[in-house]
């Protein structure tokens, strides 16, 4: 009998059971999809790190002969050594204007890893140096595979054969560069196999090295500045002569510390090469970026399923209690014929488990779709074409178990309603049961006009149903607001991050060969230049006690007129450099363990930290130009320029052969936006889910209320109320619920988002929370539409009622 009742119960309450299954399905799908995709991202990234090798210590050195660094692999603690070249050369364009090309090498044996990043390919030309050119550089300069390009500097140029074009962003996967910004028109990336680089060495690097070496005294102190100035004199114009690096990447053995290995290798290299920079922490921007993404998705992966499971627990429990209430007479009848409370509880338990089984099936299916879409987005956005598809079996199992567990917890919550039913309930009409409200409330309701009174009674006589409706409204409104404000936050973060670079139109690079002040005056005198100011940039090693780090430093004009926008997220404003003191990026402050007012040491000098600047993904310290000159003889002059006519600036630069111009483009901003696409996608998918859940739940609670109130509503129709009048009563009730839930949703969304952003933030990324009131209104508006649809669907049913049938019986 119990078994046969199971099917009739599922059929009778198909609406509420559908809602339970639907919301559980969303929760399962969210967890399965997120953890599946995240697991694939992590395993792919681990494989990448294992293949590629994340260096424990990196050394940037002057261009070195191989024999100078032979033997590094034998130093104690060194597991693996890789050398690469990185050098800047000029790409000679058809119109004569030079374009800086930053050239990276890769080891020949790694070509298998590199090739998947190549798009178009052509045959190599064995007589020439073969290079792969980035897509942006190729597109901006009309380069295709099979073309020959001229690369070089000064008077020394050689032809290079383009055999492949690679997607710059994708190539990050195989070669994490400090830069993940997109190609600028005037600054392109080129990749070259080590064996090909050997050929380039002979053709353009060797002449440079011979000139370079001729200025290095065989004995005595090596003064790189003097050598550079001498070389600039030789070439007659500023060249990027200080951008030739050998990168020596060391992977340490297990059991050795980074510092320990660094000390040993540094001791080995001393006297053999000129080490310009040592990096002992792996703060490759790409690695930090992926770590940051991982943290974001773990936050989402925890929060979102918890949110959906919590909502599903509440809805399942409330619906179960409602079902028990409607089944009171049936249960009373069952008890009167000898069925036990436990058996009834078991019936309910089996019912909900059956429903969870169905939701698990569909949830896994939907989760697979979410996982697949996310993986595709990850592949594109995070430069990992090799991320695999697949669900995480453990996460899937846990999701199913949680759903099953929640259904049973809900049954237990509802259980006391079963145990309070007695056999006598088989005979007592539900009509006689009226919830007693507190007297002041009764009085208050009594004074209301009729529609309001009926709506209030309907709400307070069945508060569970109203709570479910409120929950559905609350959840979906909250999600819309969160999704909207999250987007606002991301936009603000991107804006703040790119503000520095996009606060001026262009940046002109040149070396110290030019007289700085004279050049600046000349630049400012150009008709196309509306404002120009000078800056310096360099890399400095800073220490504080035992801690040290290398900071990219920019020397700028002091005061508020500077074109440099130094972001201060905390105050949502900007900071200004003072004559003395340094504005330190928050990340470096964290590494050094310093705050405002502390002193940090650069060489033999101490500088006070006057402010901490929170920046996203690109950390720069700011000093006055005078201070930079004082701290470092090696710096690059740069000029921040606002122009009215970009072409005129380009002509001026070409004519004076002063170096290169980096024109700020919106692609940097677009790139950053693209990097946030996956998390944005996830947030909006969840919002869509929430709206769907809200529509299903609100429609079902409305239908449920119709069943419950069929008789009184029919009576109203019998005494002369039309469907519109009934609709008014319901509209008021829905309005109650909307106002209550909406009022809670706004602060709930704000506070929840604050928690999420705190969880997603790191030293590298700090998302501000901005309460854009338009999203609050939009959230409420969309949910109002959902309410309206649910309402209309229900009203259609009322108009089809047979009043005679509905008023005939006692129930």
């Amino acid at each position: 009998m119990i078994r046969s009742y199971l099917f009739s119960m599922l059929k009778r309450f198909k609406g509420p059971f559908f809602s339970m299954a639907f919301i559980s399905m969303l929760a399962i799908a969210m967890m399965v999809g997120l953890f599946g995709a995240l697991g694939n991202l992590e395993s792919s990234y681990d494989a990448f790190k294992s293949d590629y090798g994340s260096p424990s210590v990196s050394y940037y050195m002057d261009l070195s002969k191989d024999e100078a660094i032979t033997g590094v692999a034998e130093v104690e603690g060194v597991a693996k050594v890789e050398t690469r070249l990185r050098f800047d050369a000029y790409l000679r364009r058809g119109d004569g204007r030079p374009l800086i090309a930053r050239i990276f090498t890769f080891e020949d044996e790694r070509e298998g890893i590199v090739k998947p990043c190549f798009g178009d390919m052509a045959a190599k030309n064995e007589d020439m140096v073969n290079v792969a050119v980035s897509t942006a550089l190729a597109k901006s300069n009309g380069i295709s595979v099979g073309h020959d390009i001229e690369l070089g500097f000064g008077e020394t140029y050689a032809k290079f054969h383009v055999y492949a074009i690679y997607d710059h962003a994708t190539a990050i996967y195989i070669r994490p560069s400090p830069f993940i910004a997109s190609d600028n028109r005037d600054f392109g990336h080129i990749m070259i196999a080590r064996s090909e680089a050997k050929k380039a060495e002979e053709r353009i690097i060797k002449p440079y090295m011979e000139t370079h070496d001729s200025f290095v005294p065989p004995e005595g102190t090596y003064d790189p500045t003097a050598v550079l100035e001498a070389m600039a004199d030789v070439y007659g114009n500023p060249e990027r002569v200080d951008h030739y690096f050998t990168e020596l990447l060391i992977q340490k053995k297990n059991g050795y510390g980074e510092e320990e290995v660094n000390e040993r290798v540094s001791a080995f290299l001393k006297g053999k090469v000129n080490v310009l920079e040592t990096i002992t922490e792996s703060h490759s921007l790409y690695e930090q970026f992926i770590a940051h993404v991982d943290r974001q998705f773990h936050t989402a992966g925890l929060f979102l399923p918890i949110f959906f499971f919590a909502v599903s627990l509440a809805i399942i429990a409330l619906f179960l209690i409602q079902i028990i209430k409607l089944m009171t007479r049936d249960i009373g009848t069952m008890l009167s014929i000898g069925v036990s409370h436990g058996q009834v509880l078991g019936l309910l338990s089996v019912c909900t488990l059956a429903v969870m089984g169905i939701s698990a099936l569909f949830g896994i299916g939907l989760g697979s779709v979410i996982m697949a879409v996310l993986v595709n987005i990850f592949r594109a956005s995070y430069f990992m074409p090799g991320i695999t598809f697949g669900l995480d079996p453990l996460a899937t199992l846990i999701a199913i178990l949680i759903a099953a567990g929640i259904s049973q917890i809900a049954v237990l919550i509802a259980a006391h309603n079963i145990f309070s039913i007695t056999p006598k309930d088989a005979m007592i009409s539900n009509e006689a049961k009226r919830r007693k409200l507190p007297k002041p409330m009764e009085k208050g309701i009594d004074r209301m006009p009729l529609y309001l009174r009926m709506a209030a009674n309907a709400t307070f006589q069945n508060p569970r149903r109203s709570i479910v409706s409120c929950l559905a409204i609350l959840a979906s409104t909250t999600m819309i607001i969160i999704a909207g404000l999250f987007g606002v936050s991301i936009d603000a973060t991107i804006r703040q991050t790119t503000q520095t670079r996009l606060n001026y139109d262009a940046q002109v690079y040149c070396t110290k060969a030019e007289e700085d002040d004279a050049f600046l005056k000349d630049l400012q005198a150009q008709p196309c230049v509306t404002k120009a100011e000078q800056g310096y940039f360099t890399w400095l090693e800073a220490t504080h006690g035992e801690k040290k780090t290398t900071i990219e430093v920019v020397g700028v004009d002091v005061g508020s007129q500077s074109l440099q926008y130094i972001p201060d997220f905390g105050a949502n404003g900007r900071l200004y450099v003072e004559e003395e003191g340094m504005i330190l990026p928050a990340y470096s402050a964290e590494v050094l363990g310093v705050g405002v007012g502390d002193l940090i040491t650069f060489g033999t000098r101490q500088i006070k930290v006057t402010a901490i600047s929170t920046q996203h993904m690109h950390f720069v310290g700011y000093l006055s130009m005078a201070k930079v000159k004082e701290l470092s003889p090696r710096y690059v002059s740069t000029y921040f320029v606002n122009v009215s006519d970009e072409a005129s600036l380009m002509s001026y630069v070409s004519m004076h052969k002063i170096g290169s111009v980096v024109v700020n483009t919106s692609s940097y901003r677009a790139d950053m936006k693209e990097r946030h696409d996956p998390i944005n996608f996830v947030v909006w998918v969840i919002t869509g889910f929430s709206l769907a859940m809200a529509l299903a739940t609100l429609t079902i609670t409305a239908q449920d209320q119709l069943i419950d109130q069929k008789k009184p509503l029919s009576i109203l129709r019998c005494v002369g109320y039309g469907t519109k009048d009934i609709s008014n009563i319901w509209s008021i009730q829905r309005a109650f619920e909307f106002l209550i839930a909406g009022a809670i949703a706004c602060p709930a969304a704000y506070l929840t988002l604050k928690l999420i952003l705190k969880g997603a933030a790191s030293e590298e990324a700090n998302y501000p929370i901005i309460a854009d009131y338009r999203w609050f209104l939009l959230g409420l508006f969309f949910v109002l539409i959902v309410l309206g649809v649910a309402h209309l669907l229900s009203m259609r049913k009322i108009s089809k009622w047979n009043l005679a049938d509905n008023t005939r019986s006692r129930e």
Partner: protein, 234 residues
């Protein structure tokens, strides 16, 4: 015989199809005249309640015509039927059909149009002997009291036609008698009463009796020997 208020002809209503088809009304013709006390008598399943529901605008028919003030209710739109139920007819049910969340006074004032007339509601409640129960909820009243509230609600609409479906069906004899006496008084004041019952004794109150069996009218005759409600026992 007074003026004809309702004239229904050829009413047909059935349920099911094919061999399982059952008729609730099978070609029924009926008229309701002003100021009459019409009793429709029949056993359970005879079609009497269906006929009353149809006359009350709460159910539809497959065939036939129901003329009220020149309009055919059988073909009326939902809006017109709502208007009819609101303005022209009061219905009293076997199981009272009061709204549990409203007090006695609120139940009586529930009808649209009646909401503004509190004084009238109070007067009617006093009339039916419930002047001291205004703030009670239906669950706090006896069956007879509830039925009197239902009658008061119907009266408060100020329509002259009262349709009563087994008004004593859920009551004990004493309460039932009290309800019948009330209906009798209302009839005496000029109301038209149509009452459905399966109790032969109650039919003795009628000015006219229509008997139904198997969805058809088998008898339609004046009642020459009316009896007072207080003299009827069942």
């Amino acid at each position: 015989m007074g003026k004809t208020i309702i004239k229904a002809t050829g009413l047909v209503k059935s349920y099911g199809e094919g061999e399982g088809k059952t008729y609730a009304l099978d070609g029924v013709d009926v008229e309701v005249h002003a100021n009459e006390f019409l009793v429709i008598l029949g056993e359970s399943g005879s079609g009497k309640s269906t006929l009353l529901n149809v006359l009350g605008g709460m159910d539809d028919v497959e065939e036939g015509e129901i003329l009220f003030e020149g309009k055919d209710l059988a073909k009326a739109k939902a809006r017109d039927l709502t208007k009819y139920r609101r303005d022209s007819v009061g219905f009293v049910y076997q199981f009272f059909n009061l709204l549990n969340d409203l007090t006695v006074l609120q139940n009586v004032m529930i009808a649209p149009g009646a909401r503004k007339h509190k004084d009238r509601a109070l007067q009617i409640l006093g009339r039916v002997g419930l002047g001291d129960k205004l703030d009670k909820f239906p669950a706090q009243l006896s069956g007879g009291q509830q039925q009197r509230v239902a009658i008061a609600r119907a009266l408060n609409k100020e329509c002259d036609l009262l349709l009563c479906d087994e008004p004593t069906g859920a009551l004990d004899a004493a309460s039932g008698k009290a309800v019948l006496q009330l209906l009798e008084e209302l009839h005496g004041e000029g109301k038209t009463i149509v009452l459905v019952t399966h109790t032969k004794e109650i039919a003795q109150m009628a000015t006219r009796v229509i008997a139904m069996k198997d969805a058809k009218i088998i008898r339609n005759e004046e009642n020459p020997s009316r009896r007072k409600a207080k003299d009827i026992d069942w």
